[in-house]
């Protein structure tokens, strides 16, 4: 992501080609906007969208509505600005135009993620990402009426693994790129549709937490059921697109192992 810019000094004109949609169920259309970019100013896609919003006139010269998008942190930690840029999913706040459109006349296509319902234009509803965290109980159970005392100690080795897993921002990149994770318009099916790498990896994070372990059987039940880790097809796109470089395929292997052991245990205890 931090490849040096290949853009020549000076100002160039690029085209932003944006997939637009006025709301759920409304037809889609493409609109292109021309944008002048000066090398070295560090303009990202969000800044480009702000320029377009200030003067929403297409390359054909017709006036249109400002493009709607989501963003939050602007430093690649919240995941709100996730879109499909030139066919691949990524955060747009960290997408610098000097890197992705270094030449005069370059075209940048922007589409909303395809696995989540479009709210408007580039903004999607990622509710299912968070629903999937609930399915695997991705939390540490500490609710109670009394003080629980100091937390458990963790070895540096455990910390190292868990720290990386904990950097997940639920952006949805790994779900967008996954051939097994697909748009599920009917929320009644959300409990049986594939969880995706994100929730599988979070289940691993909380199963390896000294207190979070308490809920491990519950998480493994969810991972054994329909839509669980068994539905992964090992295409391994998730690990390629994760902006946080989370070893998702290792999480999938680790949870595959945990689910295997869990199933054998259940077989013998007949629970």
């Amino acid at each position: 992501m931090h490849t040096p810019s290949t853009a020549k000094p000076g100002t160039r004109t690029i085209t932003m080609k944006i997939k637009r949609c006025d709301g759920p169920g409304k037809p889609e259309r493409w609109e292109s906007f021309s944008l002048s970019v000066t090398t070295g100013q560090g303009m990202n896609i969000i800044a480009a969208l702000q320029v377009i919003a200030a003067k929403p006139v297409t390359v054909e010269g017709s006036r249109t509505t400002p493009v709607v998008w989501d963003s939050g942190c602007l430093e690649e930690v919240c995941g709100a600005c996730t879109m499909v840029v030139n066919g691949k999913v990524r955060q747009t706040c960290s997408a610098l135009l000097d890197q992705i459109a270094p030449n005069d006349g370059d075209v940048v296509t922007l589409e909303p993620m395809s696995k989540f319902p479009v709210v408007r234009d580039l903004s999607v509803n990622r509710q299912r990402v968070f629903h999937n965290l609930k399915r695997v109980s991705a939390w540490v159970p500490i609710d109670g009426t009394y003080a629980l005392g100091p937390g458990p100690r963790e070895t540096p080795a455990e910390q190292e693994v868990r720290y990386t897993l904990s950097t997940c921002m639920s952006c949805g990149c790994c779900l967008e790129a996954c051939p097994q994770f697909n748009q599920e318009p009917d929320s009644k099916n959300w409990d049986t549709a594939f969880l995706g790498a994100h929730a599988i990896s979070q289940a691993r994070l909380f199963n390896s937490h000294a207190t979070g372990k308490e809920l491990a059987p519950q998480r493994l039940d969810a991972l054994s059921g329909p839509g669980g880790v068994g539905d992964c097809g090992n295409a391994q796109n998730c690990v390629k697109v994760c902006p946080k470089k989370i070893p998702l395929t290792e999480s999938i292997g680790a949870m595959g192992r945990a689910v295997t052991i869990h199933a054998v245990k259940k077989l013998f205890t007949m629970k």
Binding site: T192, T249, G256
Partner: protein
């Protein structure tokens, strides 16, 4: 939510036994199907290396004669010495049916996206599905024509017989005594079928290790990947050797070798239903002089 009780009857059979079926699907691809595949390719490729396998017995045979002799011997052994052969076959067919039916169900839940994400593993994911679809078509044709006797689908109409295993197989692949266009097409389909199936097995072996949680770390997955690639390459060579060996085998010569086999072991020569227009004189000689005919 997963902890909301759901009445058992409202959940489909597939969902209720989700993990069990997934794992049986994975397992069935290795045992019995994969194990059979290995044995099958080792036997069939003997058409190429059989002369070596015969040791002294094959000294005077040509490569093709030695291959045909050895292969024929193997097939006779399989048909005469393995107990409950039909039961083994039925188990295998049931496993293949189970693996492919579930495979279709699972494959339909995915949407390939190699256009935007052209990574190696993603291509293998897509190929795994395509090889499954074409592979099962091939298996059906292969078993129907050579085992169930659907000879109307064989160019030249040969019925495969284990009494004349090598020659009738060569006839089926070539489309007759001489290579015909239809025979080339059938053999080309064999080439596609066996290549895809060997890939399917090797790649499935790789993914199953992740599925079962045997390979967890990236390094372990990579190393097992190399091992699977090596296994796949070996089986691929065996598969191609088998096809090439039988495609190039002269059916008349092969028949002569098969008849010499029965003579050598003092068995009655089975009735020939193929090459009936060809006057093949069984060799009165020991196979050790076959090469000089």
């Amino acid at each position: 939510m997963s902890n909301t009780p759901v009445s058992q009857s409202s959940v489909s059979f597939l969902d209720r036994h989700h993990l069990l079926l997934r794992r049986l699907h994975s397992l069935s691809g290795i045992v019995p199907i994969g194990v059979f595949l290995i044995a099958h390719l080792v036997t069939n490729s003997s058409i190429m290396w059989g002369k070596v396998g015969l040791r002294g017995d094959g000294a005077d045979m040509s490569l093709a004669e030695g291959g045909a002799f050895y292969f024929h011997k193997e097939v006779v052994w399989i048909n005469n010495s393995i107990p409950h052969l039909l039961l083994i076959e039925l188990t295998l067919w049931a496993a293949i049916a189970f693996h492919s039916v579930l495979g279709f169900v699972y494959a339909f839940s995915g949407r390939s996206n190699t256009r935007n994400y052209g990574y190696g593993a993603n291509w293998r994911y897509t190929l795994q599905r395509i090889s499954g679809y074409i592979g099962i078509l091939f298996i059906f044709y292969h078993v129907a024509t050579l085992r169930w006797g659907w000879s109307f689908l064989v160019p030249g109409g040969t019925t495969w017989s284990h009494h004349y295993a090598a020659s009738t197989l060569a006839l089926s692949l070539r489309g007759g005594t001489e290579i015909t266009l239809a025979g080339v097409l059938v053999s080309a389909f064999y080439f596609v079928g066996i290549t895809l199936l060997v890939f399917h097995f090797a790649n499935g072996l790789w993914t199953s290790a992740i599925t079962w949680g045997l390979t967890v770390s990236q390094r372990a997955q990579q190393q097992w990947g190399y091992a699977c690639a090596a296994i796949g390459t070996g089986l691929m060579l065996a598969a191609w050797a088998s096809l090439l060996g039988f495609f190039l085998l002269d059916p008349v010569q092969a028949t002569r070798v098969e008849q010499a086999y029965y003579q050598k072991y003092g068995q009655p020569i089975p009735k020939r239903h193929h090459l009936t227009d060809q006057n093949i004189t069984p060799l009165k000689t020991e196979p050790s002089t076959l090469g000089k005919n």
